[in-house]
C-alpha cells in the first residue's frame, strides 16, 4: 500500500485522545519494566506474558467469578504480583544473587526471562486455550465530544492509570518500604550494609512491576479482548516507551508511553495507516541515535 499524506485535521483531537488512552497503558507496562531495571539493571523479557496473565486473571474475576470490574482489576493485580514474586523467588533469585546488568548472571537473567516468557505463554495456552476471549464491561453510553465518541472504558483507563501512577509515586517517595526500594535501586551493596533486606525488596519490586502489568492487561481487555499472544507486541511497545522516556526513570516511562501512543496514532492518521507499528520503533531508533539515555534517563553507567 502507498504512503498517503491525508491531513484530516478535523479528527486531530480524537487521534490524540486515542493515543493518550493506549499510551497510558504502554506507560504502565513500561513503568514495571523500568522499575525492574532500576532495581536489577536487567530487562525482564517475560513482562509481556505477565501482562497477559494479568488480563486473564481480570477476566476470571470479572466474568467467571462475577466481581465488579474495579474489584477484578485489584484482584488481578494482587494475583499477578504474587505470580511475579513467586517467579522471582523460585527461578530468578539464584541469578540475581550473582549480579545484574552487565555481569554474566545479568545476561543469564535476560535469557531466563526469554525462557520464562515461552513457559508462561504455554501455561496460559494450556489453561485458557489459544482463542481470544471477549472482556465485555458495560459502563454505559460513551461520551460524545462533537463528532468524537469516547467509550467510558477509555476514560476509565486513563483515570486508573493516573491513580496507579500517583499511588506508586506516593509509595516510593513517602513510605519506608518505598525508601528501601529506592535504596536497593541505587546501590544494593550499601543497602545491605544499611540493614535493608535486599532480596525481599527485589521480590517486592517484581511484585509491584507485575501488579502494574496486570493492571494494564485488565484495562486493555475491554478495548482489545484477551488472548494468549497479546503480550508480545505490548512488551515491544512498552520497551520502546521505556527507552524513549529513559530506562530506569519512572516518570520517563509514562511520558515515553504517551509519546509512543500519540505518535503511532498520529502517524497512522496522517502518514500511513498501513504501517502503524513502525512509528513507535522509529521513535525508539531516533532516541537511541540522538539521546541514548532517553528523555528523562540518566547517562548509562555500570552501578557499583
Amino acid at each position: 500500500m502507498d504512503f498517503v499524506i491525508n491531513f484530516d485535521f478535523s479528527s486531530l483531537f480524537a487521534f490524540i485522545l486515542f493515543g493518550l488512552t493506549i499510551g497510558v497503558v504502554y506507560g504502565i507496562v513500561a513503568l514495571g519494566i523500568s522499575l525492574i531495571y532500576s532495581g536489577l539493571d536487567i530487562v525482564h523479557f517475560a513482562h509481556g506474558e505477565v501482562y497477559m496473565f494479568g488480563a486473564f486473571f481480570g477476566l476470571v474475576f470479572s466474568k467467571t467469578l462475577g466481581f465488579p470490574y474495579p474489584v477484578a482489576l485489584v484482584m488481578a493485580m494482587i494475583c499477578a504480583a504474587m505470580l511475579g514474586m513467586f517467579i522471582e523467588r523460585v527461578f530468578y533469585r539464584r541469578l540475581t544473587k550473582g549480579g545484574g546488568g552487565y555481569t554474566v548472571a545479568g545476561m543469564g537473567m535476560i535469557i531466563c526471562g526469554f525462557a520464562m516468557s515461552i513457559v508462561l505463554m504455554n501455561v496460559a495456552f494450556l489453561i485458557w486455550g489459544a482463542g481470544a476471549e471477549p472482556f465485555h464491561v458495560d459502563l454505559g453510553m460513551p461520551y460524545q465530544f462533537g463528532d468524537i465518541t469516547l467509550p467510558k472504558s477509555y476514560a476509565l483507563t486513563a483515570l486508573m492509570a493516573i491513580l496507579l501512577m500517583g499511588s506508586l509515586h506516593y509509595f516510593l517517595k513517602k513510605t519506608k518500604i518505598g525508601l528501601a526500594i529506592r535504596a536497593v535501586a541505587a546501590n544494593k551493596d550499601i543497602a545491605y550494609l544499611m540493614g535493608i533486606n535486599v532480596p525481599l525488596m527485589i521480590s517486592l519490586i517484581f511484585g509491584l512491576a507485575c501488579g502494574l502489568a496486570a493492571a494494564a492487561g485488565v484495562l486493555i481487555g475491554p478495548m482489545q479482548s484477551v488472548q494468549v499472544e497479546m503480550g508480545y507486541l505490548m512488551l515491544l511497545k512498552a520497551f520502546a516507551a521505556a527507552v524513549v522516556g529513559g530506562f530506569g526513570s519512572l516518570p520517563g516511562a509514562i511520558i515515553g508511553g504517551l509519546i509512543v501512543g500519540i505518535a503511532e496514532n498520529l502517524g497512522a492518521a496522517y502518514i500511513s495507516p498501513n504501517h502503524k507499528d513502525i512509528y513507535a520503533f522509529l521513535i525508539l531508533i531516533l532516541v537511541l541515535m540522538f539521546k541514548p539515555s532517553g528523555l528523562f534517563g540518566v547517562v548509562a553507567r555500570v552501578k557499583a
Binding site: M1, N6, D8, S10, S11, A14, F15, F18, I22, G129, A130, G131, A132, E133, P134, H136, P142, Q144, D147, I148, T149, P151, Y154, M223, Q224, S225, Q227, E229, M230, L233, N265, A268, A269, P273, N274, K276, D277
Partner: protein, 402 residues
C-alpha cells in the same frame, strides 16, 4: 527330532510370510497427509472432524478393504511450517494424498510442492483465488473461491447498501485477496472506487484511528477482511468509534467462524458475509449435521469450515473408492495419479455445500474451483448463542472473476 523341529519351524515361518504377503496384497494402507491450522479451539476441531470422519470410514470397512492411514500435522497458519509439513508428508510418509491447508498463505506455497512431487492435494478451507490460478494439475479446492464470494458480496452491496465502501484488510493472504477481489468487483459492477482502504496487521488490536477516519468519510458500508478474532475486535471498535448501525459491516468469509459473533457480541448483529454453508440452512442434511457437530464438538452452530471439512472427507472417500488403487511398493506414483484423476472425475457432488461440487481434468480455476455456490448470511444475533439468517444463495459461472 531336531531335524523335524527345524523343518516344522521353517515351514511355519514360510507359511506366516506367505500369509502375511497375501494379507498385504489384499489390504494395504492408503496414506493421507493432513496439514491444518490448529492453533485455535475451532482449528483443532476442524482437524479432529477430518480424523473422526476418516476413522468412521475405516470402522465401516475402509476403502475396498484398505484402511486410510491419516497423519495430521499442525501448520499454525505459518507458511514455513506448512511447507515443512508437506515435504515431510510427501517424502517421508509417502502419502498418496495431501489435505491442506486451512490458511491461503500456507496453501499457496504447498501447491508448488505438490505439483513438483506429483501428489494430489485437496484443499479444505483456503479461498485465495491465486491457488488454482497457478495451473497445477494436482490441486482441487472444496471451499468457494474468493472470486465468487467477491462477486456475490459486491452485487448485494451495490444493490442494497450503497457504493461508498471502506476497506480494512488484514495482511494475511486470504484477507488481502478478499479485499482486492471485492474492490475489483465493486469497480466492475458499480463503477465504485474505495472510500477508504487500509492494510492492518494480521493480529492488529487497535483500529480506532481507522474507524475515526472511516466515520469522517461518511461511508455506506465497511468491508472488514481479516481472520475471525481480528475481525471481531474491529467490529467492536467500529461501534466504539460511533459509526452507526446504518453503516453496514461486511465480513470476509472468515466472518462465518464462531469467534466473530462470540467475541464481538452485539457488534456482530447485522454483519453479513458470503460463505459456503449456513447453519440456518433448512435442508434435512444440514439439520442432521448441525446436531452432530453440536453433540460431537460442543459447537453452538457449525460454520462453513466444519461443513467443508466434512464435504472434503466425503469427496475423498468417493475418489478413493473409484480410484482402483494398487497400493503395492512400486505403485505410489500410479496410485497418486489415479487418485488425482478420480477426484477430477467427480461431478455434481451434493453434500453440505449450498450447491453441487464438480471438478474436471484441466488444470484451470474453472475446473479446480469445484464449489461455485456462495450463500449470503447475516448475523441476526451476536454472543455465544448467536443466530444467522440466509439472505441469498447464488451459483456463479465457472469463469467468473478470472
Amino acid at each position: 527330532m531336531n531335524k523335524l523341529y527345524k523343518n516344522c519351524l521353517a515351514g511355519g515361518l514360510a507359511g506366516v510370510m506367505v500369509a502375511g504377503m497375501a494379507i498385504g496384497a489384499m489390504a494395504a494402507d492408503i496414506r493421507v497427509g493432513i496439514t491444518m491450522r490448529m492453533i485455535s479451539e475451532n482449528g483443532q476441531k476442524y482437524g479432529q472432524m477430518v480424523m473422526d470422519e476418516i476413522d468412521m470410514i475405516n470402522k465401516s470397512g475402509g476403502i475396498n478393504g484398505n484402511m486410510i492411514k491419516p497423519t495430521l500435522m499442525n501448520d499454525e497458519c505459518k507458511s514455513d511450517k506448512g511447507v515443512a509439513n508437506a515435504i515431510k508428508l510427501i517424502n517421508q510418509q509417502k502419502v498418496h494424498l495431501l489435505i491442506g491447508s486451512t490458511c491461503s498463505s500456507v496453501t499457496l506455497p504447498i501447491v508448488d510442492i505438490t505439483a513438483k512431487a506429483s501428489v494430489p492435494q485437496i484443499i479444505p478451507h483456503s479461498t485465495n483465488g491465486k491457488i488454482t490460478k497457478k495451473g497445477s494439475a494436482w490441486v482441487f479446492r472444496v471451499p468457494v473461491s474468493g472470486r465468487f464470494y467477491a462477486g456475490v458480496n459486491a452485487k448485494y452491496v451495490g444493490e442494497n447498501i450503497g457504493k461508498k465502501i471502506a476497506y480494512l484488510c488484514a495482511a494475511d493472504a486470504a484477507s488481502q485477496n478478499d479485499c482486492e477481489a471485492m474492490q475489483k468487483q465493486m469497480k466492475a459492477q458499480h463503477g465504485s472506487e474505495p472510500a477508504y482502504v487500509a492494510q492492518v496487521q494480521e493480529k492488529e488490536v487497535d483500529f480506532r484511528t481507522h474507524m475515526q477516519k472511516i466515520k469522517s468519510a461518511g461511508v455506506d458500508g465497511i468491508l472488514i477482511a481479516a481472520l475471525a478474532e481480528t475481525m471481531a475486535r474491529a467490529l467492536i471498535q467500529s461501534y466504539e468509534a460511533g459509526i452507526p448501525a446504518s453503516v453496514r459491516r461486511i465480513g470476509s468469509s472468515s466472518a462465518s467462524n464462531s469467534p466473530v459473533p462470540t467475541i464481538a457480541g452485539d457488534a456482530a448483529k447485522g454483519v453479513f458475509f458470503a460463505a459456503a454453508y449456513a447453519a440456518a440452512d433448512n435442508r434435512p442434511i444440514a439439520r442432521l449435521f448441525n446436531e452432530m457437530v453440536k453433540k460431537r464438538y460442543g459447537v453452538h452452530a457449525p460454520d462453513h469450515d466444519f461443513s467443508q471439512a466434512y464435504d472434503l472427507v466425503r469427496i475423498v472417500e468417493i475418489a478413493l473408492n473409484n480410484a482402483n488403487l494398487k497400493l503395492d511398493s512400486g505403485s505410489l506414483a500410479a496410485d497418486r495419479t489415479a487418485i488425482r484423476d478420480s477426484i477430477a472425475s467427480i461431478k455434481n457432488y451434493e453434500g453440505l455445500a449450498s450447491g453441487p461440487i464438480s471438478f474436471c481434468a484441466a488444470a484451470t480455476p474453472q475446473c479446480r474451483d469445484g464449489n461455485r455456490t456462495a450463500v449470503l448470511i447475516a448475523y441476526s444475533k451476536g454472543g455465544k448463542d448467536y443466530k444467522t439468517e440466509v439472505l441469498a444463495r447464488v451459483t456463479m459461472p465457472a469463469d467468473f472473476g478470472l
